[in-house]
Symmetry: C2
Amino acid sequence: MALGIAMLTLAAAAATATAGGGTRPALMPWPSSIEMGSGELAVGPGFRIALAGNGGPLVERAAKRFEARLARQTGLVLPSPVAMAEKPTLEIRCDSPGKPLPYLGMDEGYTLSVTPAGATLQAAQPWGILRGMETFLQLVGTGSSTAFRVPAVVVKDRPRFPWRGLMLDSSRHFMPLETVKRTLDGMAAVKLNVFHWHLTDDQGFRVESRRYPELHRTGSDGFFYTQEQVKEVVAYAGDRGIRVYPEFDIPGHTTSWFVSHPELASMPGPYRIEREWGIMDPALDPSKEEVYRFLDGFLGEMAALFPDPFLHIGGDEVNGKHWDASERLVAFKKEKGFKDNHDLLGYFSQRVSKIVTGHGKRMMGWDEILHPSLPKDSVVHSWRGQESLGAAAKQGYQGILSNGYYIDLVWSADRHYGIDPWDKGVDQLPEADRARILGGEATMWSEFTTPEVVDSRIWPRTAAIAERLWSPREIKDQDDMYARLDETSRWLEWIGLDHRAGYTRMLERLAGRQHHDLRMLVDVVEPLEDYQRGATGHYTQQTPHNRLMDAARPESDTARGFARLVDALLADPSRRAGREAVRARLREWQGLDVQLRPLLERSAILREAVPLAAEASALAAAGLEALGFLEQGVPAPQSWWEQRSPLLQREKKPLTGLEVAYRPSIKRLMEAAVGR
Amino acid sequence: MALGIAMLTLAAAAATATAGGGTRPALMPWPSSIEMGSGELAVGPGFRIALAGNGGPLVERAAKRFEARLARQTGLVLPSPVAMAEKPTLEIRCDSPGKPLPYLGMDEGYTLSVTPAGATLQAAQPWGILRGMETFLQLVGTGSSTAFRVPAVVVKDRPRFPWRGLMLDSSRHFMPLETVKRTLDGMAAVKLNVFHWHLTDDQGFRVESRRYPELHRTGSDGFFYTQEQVKEVVAYAGDRGIRVYPEFDIPGHTTSWFVSHPELASMPGPYRIEREWGIMDPALDPSKEEVYRFLDGFLGEMAALFPDPFLHIGGDEVNGKHWDASERLVAFKKEKGFKDNHDLLGYFSQRVSKIVTGHGKRMMGWDEILHPSLPKDSVVHSWRGQESLGAAAKQGYQGILSNGYYIDLVWSADRHYGIDPWDKGVDQLPEADRARILGGEATMWSEFTTPEVVDSRIWPRTAAIAERLWSPREIKDQDDMYARLDETSRWLEWIGLDHRAGYTRMLERLAGRQHHDLRMLVDVVEPLEDYQRGATGHYTQQTPHNRLMDAARPESDTARGFARLVDALLADPSRRAGREAVRARLREWQGLDVQLRPLLERSAILREAVPLAAEASALAAAGLEALGFLEQGVPAPQSWWEQRSPLLQREKKPLTGLEVAYRPSIKRLMEAAVGR
């Protein structure tokens, strides 16, 4: 690990020196050890792979995909898919074919050695080969047309955590098969290894049940995955070293089940698919034996469909209203001696656990399932945080962390990046307890995420979380992370992800054409974080996702770059460095209001942004004034501060759901101007 | 048709008034009749389709795709795929399910009627419904977030020609299945109805033969379509109203066949897959009976695989060298009394024609097959031009035009658009002869086209050719075409085509990051037309396609826009209008050399563009000087002209294969300045 850090520093330095030159390895996740050599390997039309060792068909398929991706990424034409080349550019040596599907604890380690004469990728198992291939592809930089280049390097790499996942909520908004596959491609590219598929919720039942076909027929609006498609996804993911396990959220989050099966609910119904967002009242009735018979049937069918040994039963957010309102359940609790609904949930979880175990699976659930009666082989999935996870670990439960990795909250990448599963005292736990914390999962809840915007909500930020879970804990320099994330974001486009191209498309739809100034505005705004969006209007499952707030990226690279300029300006005692760069940007932004107003006022869909553009311009104007005071070297008068500082407060519930992302930088400039 | 023209004028006027406002229907191809109403239909989350009449499963599948595309294009969330809605937004009424697959002469007419209260799409056959759906989708413009809008309109539409095709060369560079499907989606969007699949050539044998598997095994580098994939493509295209027919180019263009079957060749071999471009010597030996037995076997297998009644046997570009060199063939020609190789080809075509006919197909071939012995039910595919086609028609042959529609020549859209199958005297032919000219095909030969760049080579220019073949002949205003093409180009991105996003990706690969000035340069250059590229270097099948010339679009919209500015400037007697706009552009371009030089010189792949950037800057500087003279109102001195005019000649073989596209505009400015 020491080596890893040393090289990171070197890489960061090189990044500054060669920005755009493409020789610095922009690896993400950063490997556990990397040693740069001298020289580079040419990758041109003569590129050949040789397979050695005994990697089996999984490695063979991976090599074919690898070559196609290399061709796509470089523009090379590589005519022979994979050959036992005599003089290979890349020799892939896998010791053993291993198991046909990925599993928890599989060996993902690999060694990649590149010299100007050739490269070797070695691993004990195909999983390591897959990870090393991604590393190789990330290393390929543009050289000449016929000689792309890979720097000479030795990478010895293995993950820190064995469970590095992404949860995709396909229930609240259905995500088509292509979206799922594209997401899996992206996951594999950043070495994630678990796809947690949230398949049922109040707003949609998204998997075909052959045993109870009325579930998906009445609960999905026709948007569900067939069992063939599920198998296709499992195979597709497996080929990429990604486990797939499903979540069927019970006993709450079950409204869509009750459209066809009101008899399983705590209250009589009738029910229809839920269109609103929030924590709903409907829940399974834990007192009914037929509920367990039904779950045995359904979960048994699903247990056979999904080969992974884990099965997630949710268990979260039962608000208890229907349980309290049911006379039957009140009596049941009394009869059983349960003191509250938590006990009732514990009873339910225990019963379900037996069903899940009976079908050969290990049960997972959110924090709420933690109860003294929870069997010890259950796995706790924590949305609450490291303390909760640590407490469970001390009680002997394995667990994974999602608190801090909720990518639907549109936080900045560095905020997620700064959160470690070992924070908040977990690193003080005895090794045996701490080892029960298996890793984490980014969670892509989809209240505000449709297939059109999901790529920009997952990528590139999830790459930062992937690094947190793969790389040594000490790798945490945020500027370096962002430098690599920027390159990774572009690189992910070669995989077919749409987070950059989709942005352009959506902006052109909004403006009716390419519009430089609209892009300039949206480049410097960010959607409100957390669940503040919900406060800006009434959103349901049918609300269109075509507004500026949907086009805007979770994080403004431009505003972050501007903040760095302001840093430099304020750090320099003479305050000259970069002043003109800051001024140039502010002048552009100052003009936004005037330049955009005709477009915004003419357009029904953009009109809401009139105040946003005005605010962006006013902030830039205030920043320019601050810059003027700084330049003159006299403190700004207090009256100026009093007049301008209200600008620093954003509206509580902006209609657009957007915030000017350079506001904090303006604040710093203004504070410096008044000498604070 | 008179109505169509009247409305076109109106539309063009509206385009000027509402540029970017999105209410003008940017239909492409322009319908045969369109009448604008007043008001508009709202398309929001409550959008519903109802299927009436008897369209059958093809229309049902189309309606599902339609709704998914509408959702994608608008950002709406449309929860119910297709329902027999009580209050539909769009009623689709198809009289009859027709035949399961599209066919030559199918009825593609439809009537689309939109009022503020709802829309009706009516057609006799599913083919018309498919075309009308595309029209509806093109009409959908951005309104508010929840109310996209379709203008009230009545469109009565039918195609001018029954054969409107695109040929894709999957042989010289293999095109993956996804590329083929995406291309079919684009074709359907602009109402093309024939996919001509060029599957074999010297450089690759791209279809699985079960009867002669060594053909694809040894002739394809492993890149071929399985028969299952062919069936998938036929079904996919059929669902979109597109016929699919294959071309197996014989007796020349057959090197890849001879890798496994040298015994079929005119010279002994051995052969390997051809990697070079050009007209090659190898050809089948027309004197050998085993050649016809083999063709009977192979073409029989293919005739069964492709349901369309047409089968293309190429027949072009036999250079005769191997035929002349073969003693056997010299003797054969003498024995048969053939006076030259054209007679030998005629004999071959006649024999093959019997085989093709024997398998229930009609034979197609390029002009070369035209010979007195050619059976009258053959169809001539003309790369030579309308005269050739007209001559064939007079002899009783049906034919289609591709001369003028070679999109691989990277001409401008208006140049293709200006070419009509009835030009060059065809419109003077008797109606019966003229009716034999069935339409045309754009041809995408792939010497310089890989899967990465193929979208930008086909789109959006092919939409202009599609309009030529669909719309009334009188629709030919180029400015109006370009205005609509621009919107169509953006609209095609919603279908998943990559011609715009891929450009950005390639530029970022070249620069290693987003680079404003590089984009500014590439925005104003165009690849050399025709086959001039071949003269700029040595190109083979393995030459990478990752250079500036591959990223550059066939046509510079920016340079065309600039030419319009120069038009306006020179047309105004006072010469003031737009002068500042011209100056602003020229100033930006003048700076390209200085701004780009550091990037270009540092990069092995971009270095070749140093002279190009210098040339672009020098031209802009000369344009600025010309502008200065024009502004002063004094003619520029002759010495200035003599000094600057060499700039107006471009290098004969520029290394970059690129040309500064605003050079002609600079020429006009300079000529005006010296008073020419």
